[in-house]
């Protein structure tokens, strides 16, 4: 018996007993997932999958990575993405595919011919199961990296300190990705709050090396280009000495030991600006 007749046998069996197999498959998977997915939804999902597999086999293919299985693959990718988002484990997700083997087993092990056909079908499902777990992992990675991004956003709050003054308390290390987020948020907040002064506080940054300094300078330059005055505060004595020994120059960027000094200075300037505005009107 060759592959072609194996496929024919499989297609016939799967077509004839579609309702029975599908019901059993849905029940088996449903038990696995212990009611965390509605039977109706599961039935629809698995029904689509069943028909896509059947169609590809009717076209004469058993190659899970071949063109005939394109529809099946996209259904499986969708299924595993949903499962990953809903918090199902990889095992639970892949089991949804493998369960079809168990369902078919009793009907396809009667004689040598059908046993051979069953083995080929099992191999096909193994391939599809692998695809499913790959798609699941990809989705999980996407979820993790988007969470990392959200954390990054959370850990770089830009706050309005006073009318016209925004503050950025930096905590932790300042790498390139973080600098980009800080810079964008700072510039946006300057615009949103109509502020003219920004204070970047580095009390919570444990190490200021040339990379951090370069990133700070970049941020200050960007804020200046928006017409804002920028101060760096929270430069502790040990950091000041280290910066000097490294040879870093902050140029004409005002610095302060504490955030409150920086704020006092900024408020003075905001008041002066306002006076100027009033005089300009007179």
């Amino acid at each position: 018996m060759n592959t072609e007749s194996n496929i024919r046998l499989l297609v016939d069996t799967l077509t004839e007993q579609r309702e029975k197999f599908l019901t059993q498959w849905t029940r088996t998977v449903g038990e696995d997932l212990r009611g965390r997915l509605s039977t109706a939804e599961l039935g629809r999902e698995l029904g689509e999958l069943y028909d896509a597999v059947l169609e590809a086999m009717t076209a004469g293919s058993l190659d899970s990575r071949g063109e005939h299985f394109a529809e099946t693959r996209s259904l499986l990718i969708e299924l595993s993405r949903n499962r990953a988002r809903q918090g199902f484990t990889p095992t639970e997700t892949v089991r949804s595919v493998f369960a079809l083997k168990e369902v078919l087993e009793p009907s396809l092990t009667g004689d040598a011919d059908s046993a051979r056909a069953y083995l080929q079908f099992a191999r096909l499902l193994d391939g599809l199961g692998l695809l499913t777990s790959e798609a699941y992992l990809r989705t999980r990675e996407e979820i993790i990296s988007s969470q990392a991004e959200q954390l990054l956003e959370l850990s770089t709050p830009v706050v309005k300190l006073w009318d016209g003054v925004v503050g950025v308390p930096l905590v932790g290390t300042l790498d390139s990705a973080r600098t980009q987020v800080v810079m964008e948020k700072l510039l946006q907040t300057l615009v949103d709050t109509d502020s003219t002064h920004a204070i970047i506080d580095i009390t919570g940054v444990p190490t200021v090396d040339t990379q951090v300094a370069q990133h700070l300078l970049k941020t200050v330059v960007a804020a200046r280009m928006m017409g804002a005055q920028c101060t760096i505060s929270g430069i502790r004595p040990q950091i000041a000495q280290t910066i000097v020994a490294l040879g870093i120059e902050f140029g004409d960027i005002p610095t302060n030991a504490s955030l409150s000094d920086a704020l006092r200075q900024a408020l003075k300037e905001v008041a002066l600006d306002a006076e100027d505005d009033v005089r300009g009107l007179l």
Partner: protein, 139 residues
């Protein structure tokens, strides 16, 4: 510079192949500095030097490994750190140690600044890699 690595009973070794590794290497150095009783200023200087050398190793040397240990000299405690990479090496050491010189787009202050931040500084570089050794003493 004395062969501190040979004298040490236990050296902590960490690989540096990502910027996350630089952060954890820095933490290891900070802990050794605190244990050695270095003042806050000295700790900060040592950790910053380690940060510069670790990042150079990563950026220009393609990563490498860092060994660190507590050392003593005539009863005075200190911290020894060695940065070793198998990168292309530094063709002109004098130039690389010049303030403001960079082959990339840095500030060109890492190497020269690190030398100023520590008490002992030793660099060997050739086509098969670069090794920098530093010591900071608790004064």
């Amino acid at each position: 510079m004395k062969d501190y690595a040979a004298e040490c009973a236990s050296l902590e070794t960490v690989p540096v192949s990502t910027s996350g590794d630089v952060v954890s290497m820095r933490q290891m150095v900070r802990i050794l500095a605190q244990r050695g009783g270095l003042s806050l200023v000295h700790q900060t200087k040592l950790v910053t030097a380690a940060s510069e050398l670790g990042r150079n190793m990563l950026v220009y040397g393609g990563g490498g490994s860092v060994r660190a240990a507590s050392v003593t000299d005539a009863g005075r405690p200190g911290v020894f750190v060695e940065f070793r990479d198998k990168g292309p090496g530094i063709a002109d050491l004098d130039l690389a140690l010049t303030d403001g010189w960079t082959s990339g787009n840095g500030m060109g202050l890492g190497l020269s600044g690190a030398r100023r931040l520590v008490d002992e500084f030793d660099i060997e570089s050739g086509p098969s890699g670069t090794t920098v050794r530093i010591v900071k003493w608790a004064k």
